[in-house]
Symmetry: D3
Subunit: 245 residues, 6 copies
C-alpha cells in the first residue's frame, strides 16, 4: 500500500491492523559520469515499491533530499544542511506518530545520511527523555545494502570495483528499474580512488569524476534485477522482525 | 530533462545553455474520501513531467512534503512546520544556486504552502539585502491552477462544486495520470462546507470528511486529461516568460 | 481602551467582558520622497486609536517593525528577518493568550508583512495540531486597506496613481494625523513604475525613489480624514464580526 | 529628528553629518495597581522625544516589547522570550548599520532587559570576532535612571519607597507626559516587599500587586516634570560623549 | 561529593537528603602574558573542590567554555556564541532538574558570562511563565569574587593593580592550586589600561597584552592560598543560605 | 602541552611549529553500579594527558558533556540535546580555527556521541561547501577504544563480559587514574543484557542497572594501566599520521 496513493480513510482503516510505516529516504547527488543524480533516493523507492507488491507494507512518500554537502561541487546535487535535515525528519516522524504509527522504518539509500538520521533519532527521543515520558513509537534506520543477503550478493557480482560511491550495485538497481535511462561513460581510472570525505571542494579534488572506489561501468540491468529481488526479500523479512518487536 | 534522471555531467552541459530549473512542490495531506493523499505533490509533478516531454525544461525532484498542519487530524497527512519548510526550501535554493541556476521556478500544488514559500523567498533575499549584495538568482512561485488557461477551464468543467480543497480538478489530474488509482466515495453533503482554516482539531470539526467547498465526485479521467494538457501549455508559456525576464 | 495606558487590574477587569485584542502591526520603511518612514505602522495605529475613541476596543501597543528586507537599500528602513518576525509575533500571541485573550486581531499596515504573518499563524496553530490539542484562541489578519469601504473610497479619490507602495492613501492618513509632518517632493516620474519585489539592490534599481506604481503627491490632509473615518467604521464592523464568531 | 517622521532622503542627508541613532527600548508589563502597562517603553520614549526637541538627536521608533517573562502572571504583560528578543535587536542593529549608522545607543526603560541586551551585543560582536573582522559600529546600553543626575534626584524626591519596580519615578515620568492617564490606587502595604525574580507564578506569589520595594503612590506630575528635565540634560550629555568616542 | 566521581546510585542516595548541586562555570580565554588560559574555569573548580572537602557539597563537572568572543583575538581562547551558551546551560539544567535537583547553583569565574547566564535563567523560567506552571527548581549565579569576604581581601592584598581581567587574585588562585604552572612575564605597562569591551579586534587594539586594568605580576602562591581559604568559607555559607531558601 | 595551563603567548609560539590540537570529548552519564558518572570524559582526558607527557601534543580542555539522552533515567547524567551539542562543537572548532589550527582531532570517549559529532563535521564543512570555498582545516573523530592496539588488548583482557556500556576496560582506565575512587558492586546478572537504545524510560526498563552487555566487575587498576599505556602509544601514532596528512 502506497500512502500517497491512498485516501485518509484507507490509512485510517489500515491503522486498525498495522501501525508500521516505511519511509524510503535518500539523497539527490552526483553519482559519477554514468550514475543518475537520483540514485540514492531511487534505490530505496524502487526496492520498497517492489516489496509492497509482494508483501503487506505501507510505504510513505520518498524523502528524496538528504545530507550531501560534500557533493555540492558537482552540478545537480541538492543537499539539506544537517540541522535542516534533522528538523525535517522530526516533522515527518511527528506527523506519522500523530496518526498512531508506532513503528517508523527508514529504508536509506545514502551513506552520508546515516550519522544525521541517527542524531535525529536521538533528538526525537530526547524530548521524551528530558520529560521522563515514554516515547510512543520506535524508529529504525536500515540501509538497503545492509538488508540480509545484499552484501554477499554484491561481493559475488562485483569482486572488484564495488567501492563506496557510485557503486555498480546502486547504479544497477536504477538501470533495472528505469532501463530507458541506462547511461554509459568511460571510467578513468577504471576503479576510482578512495579517501576521506570533507567539504565540497576537497571532495572534487580527490574524486574528480565523483566516484569513490568504484567501477560504475560494471552495472547491468540484469544485476539490478537480482539485487532488487534479493532486497525485496530482505526488506520483507527485516520489516517483519521490526513489526514483531 | 529530469534532473534526477541525469548525470552531473549532463547538468553541467545543460547549464551552458539554460540556467532555469523547475521544482514541483506540494504537500502530502488528506484530500477527502476519494482524493489521494499525494494529490498536491502529484499534480505539479504530473504537469511538469508532461511539459518536460513537450518543451525544453529541466525538472528537479519533487518537493513532496509541505505545510499542512491543519490537515494533521486526518491519517496519512505529513507536514513540515513552517520554519522547517522554510529552512528546507532555502537549502534547495542554495544548492541549485551553487551550480549557477539563476531562475528557480516553483510549480506549487498546495494553497497552504503559498504564504510560507513567499516568506521563505523574503528570507532568502534578505541575506543579500542586509549585506548590500546583489542576489545572483531570482525565484518565482506559481500555483498550477493559476497557470494561464486553467481557471477558465475549471470554471467551465465545474460550474458548481469546485471549491478549494479536494477539488474535482486536482483529483481529476491525479486520476488521469494514475487511472489504476481512481477511487470513488459518496459525497455527504454533495458540496462540502466552507470556512476558515486554523488548527487541526478545528479543521476536522468544520470539515468532517476533509473537503472544503468541493464535490470531488465530479472528477473524471477525461477532465484530468484536458486540465493536464492546458496546464502543460500554460507552464511552457509561463516558464518562457520567466526565462526571458 | 489602550492596553499600554491601562493598569493590569484594568485589563483583568476588561477580560471579564471581552477577550478580544487588536494589535496594530506594520513596518518602518522608506515611503518614497515624501512619505514618512513610519507610514506603515502609523496608519494602523492612527486608525485603531481613532476607532478606540468611538467603540469599545482594546488596542495593544503597536508592532512597529515588520518584514521590509526589500526596502533596506533606503536609509531609515528597519526590518526583521522573516524568521525573527515570526518568533516575535508568536511571543506576542503567547503572552496575550496567557491572559485569556481568545480573539487576537492584527490590523496590518504593510503588504510585505502578509505572507510572514500568515506563515506565523500556521506555525502557532501547528503546535496544537501536532499535539492533537484544541487551540484556545483564534487569530485574524486584516490589512487596513481591505477594511470594508476603503478600496472603493481610494478608487474614487485616486482613479490614477494609487499604486502599491507610498500610495497617496497611506500618506494621506499620516498627514491627516500629523499635519505638522506634511512633506512634499517632486514626483519623477509622476507615477512610479511597477515590477516584482526581490532583494534590496534589485528594488532600488527598479524603483529609484522608492515608490511603486503610485503618485504620492496626490495625498492631502482632507483625503486622509475621509479615509480614517471610513476605516474606523470598517474596523468597528470587522472586529464586531470577529468577536461574534 | 524622529526617524519614523522623516523620509528616507532626510535620513540620507542626516547621515552626512551624524551617524548616531538612539533607540528607546523598554517593555510592556504590569506596573502595579496604578502604573501603566506601557511605563517601561513610555519612559525612554518620553525622555528621548523631549531631548530631541532640545538637541540634535535622531530617535528611532520605540522598541516597545522586551523581556518580561516574570510579569506574565499579570494581565496585559507582553514579553519576548530572551532568544527572540536577541534576534529582534540583532535585526534592528543590522538594519541601521546597513545604512551607515556607527553609533547605536539604546536608551532602556526596563531592568529586566539589561542582561539580554548585553548578551545580544556580545552575539552581534561575535560575528566579527569569529571572522577576525572589525565591527563597523559600536553599541551602547544606557538605562534612563542611570543617566547623570537621575539617581541623586530620585533619592531626594523619594528618600523612602523608591524600590525597583513600579517605582514612583518611572510612574511620575508617565504621569507628567500623559496627565490624562494619571491613576491612583491604595498601596497595600504602602511599601511593597523585595525578593528575587524567577518565573511568573513565583513572582505573583511574592509580589501580589506587582510592585517590588516601591510606593508608587508617591508619584506626582510635578516630580515627573523634574525627572524628565534632568533626564533630557543627562541624555544629551551622554550621547555627546558617545558620539565623541 | 564530586558528581563525576560518583556512581548513579550514589547520586540517587544523595538526592534523598539534598537536592542542591553546584556547577563551577567559567571560560577558557587569554589571561595576559602570565595568566593561564584556563584561569576562569580553574578558579571556580579549585574553590568548589576545596569546599567539597570541608563541607557537604555536591559538585557537578566544570562547565569550562563560556562566552569569550572578545578574547578571540588571542590564541587559545575558546568561546561559545551567546545563543549556544544559553542552549547548553539550559540542557545542563534540564538534565539536573530531571533527577530532582531543585537548587542549581552556578559558581562563576568569568565576568563575560554574567549577562548571558542571567538571560538564560530568564529563558529557562520563561517556559514555565508562558505555560502558567510553577518552575520546580531555582537557579542562582554567584561569581566567586562576590562571595562574602573576597572583595575586602583582594582590596587588602592588591590596593593597586587589581583591575578587571587577568587580575592578580584569579591568577594567584590558579598558582596556589597548580604551583608547577606558575609563570611570570614582564608587565608593560605595569598596570594595564581600562576601556570598553566590544569585538575581538577592537579588544586587541585597546588591550595589547590582554590584561584590563590589572598588574598580574602581583599574584603569589601564598595570596592564592588565602583567597581560596576565604572563598571556601564564603561558598559554604552562601550555599547554606541558598539551600535554606 | 595543556592548552588551558598555557598562556596565549605560549600558544602563539606553538602555532609556529604545529597547528594540531586534540580535544578530549566524552559524556557525563551513568556507568552502572560501580562505574563513575564521569567515565566517558575521564577516559579520553586520562589518555590524552598521559600521552602529552610522552609526546609533543597540544591538548585542549575536555569537552565533558555530550549526547546522553538515553541515560537520563539515571541520576547524575547530564546531556546536551543533539542540536545543542552540534552548536557547541561548532563554536569550539570555529574558535580554534580562528587561531590557525588546521588539524582538529577529537579523542572521543562515548559511543553515543559519534553520530552527532559526525553530523556536526558535515554541518561545519557545509558552510564552505555551499559557499564554494575551501575549508581551511580538517577534523577527525577517533574513539579511544578504536586506537590501534586497544581492541585486541581488551579482547585478551576480557574474553567475556566486555559489552558496550560500563565496560570493564573504560572503568579500568578510570580506576588506574583515580585509585582512590575505585568502587565495587555486585553485578546482577553478572553480564548485563543487550538491546537497542531508544529513549530514557525504555533504556531503564531494558538495562535496569545501566550496563549493556558488560561485567564491569572485571575492571582492575592493573588492567587500566595496561590499557592507558597502549592507548597512549596508539594516540601518538594516530595523531602523527593525522598531522602528516
Ligand atoms: Ni549512492
Ligand atoms: Ni489539494
Ligand atoms: Ni506602506
Ligand atoms: Ni518599570
Ligand atoms: Ni578571568
Ligand atoms: Ni562509557
Amino acid at each position: 500500500m502506497l500512502l500517497h496513493m491512498s485516501t485518509w480513510k484507507e490509512i485510517d482503516e489500515r491503522l486498525k491492523s498495522s501501525r508500521t510505516v516505511i519511509i524510503p529516504i535518500g539523497s539527490n547527488e552526483q553519482h559519477g559520469p554514468m550514475g543518475l543524480l537520483g540514485t540514492d533516493w531511487l534505490c530505496p523507492e524502487i526496492i520498497s515499491h517492489a516489496a509492497e507488491k509482494e508483501g503487506d507494507l505501507l510505504i510513505a512518500p520518498t524523502f528524496n533530499i538528504g545530507m550531501a554537502q560534500h557533493h555540492l561541487g558537482f552540478s545537480g546535487t541538492i543537499s539539506l544542511r544537517p540541522t535542516t535535515f534533522m528538523a525535517a525528519i522530526e516533522d515527518w516522524v511527528d506527523s506519522l506518530a500523530r496518526h498512531g504509527f508506532d513503528r517508523i522504518y527508514f529504508l536509506n539509500g545514502h551513506g552520508g545520511n546515516i550519522a544525521t538520521i541517527e542524531a535525529t533519532f536521538s533528538q526525537i527521543y530526547s524530548h521524551y527523555s528530558y520529560a521522563a515520558e515514554p516515547c510512543p513509537f520506535i524508529m529504525k534506520l536500515r540501509n538497503w545494502w545492509d538488508l540480509p543477503g545484499i552484501a554477499s550478493l554484491c561481493a559475488r557480482l562485483y569482486p572488484q570495483g564495488h567501492g563506496s560511491h557510485a557503486t555498480p550495485s546502486e547504479i544497477a538497481v536504477t538501470f533495472a528499474a528505469y532501463p530507458d535511462f541506462v547511461k554509459s561513460a568511460a571510467m578513468e581510472p577504471r576503479i576510482a580512488p578512495n579517501g576521506p570525505i570533507r567539504d565540497a571542494l576537497d571532495y572534487r579534488d580527490r574524486f574528480p569524476d565523483g566516484r569513490i572506489g568504484s567501477d560504475s561501468s560494471l552495472a547491468t540491468v540484469s544485476d539490478g534485477e537480482q539485487i532488487i529481488a534479493a532486497a525485496v526479500k530482505g526488506l520483507l523479512d527485516d520489516v517483519a522482525k521490526f513489526q514483531a518487536e
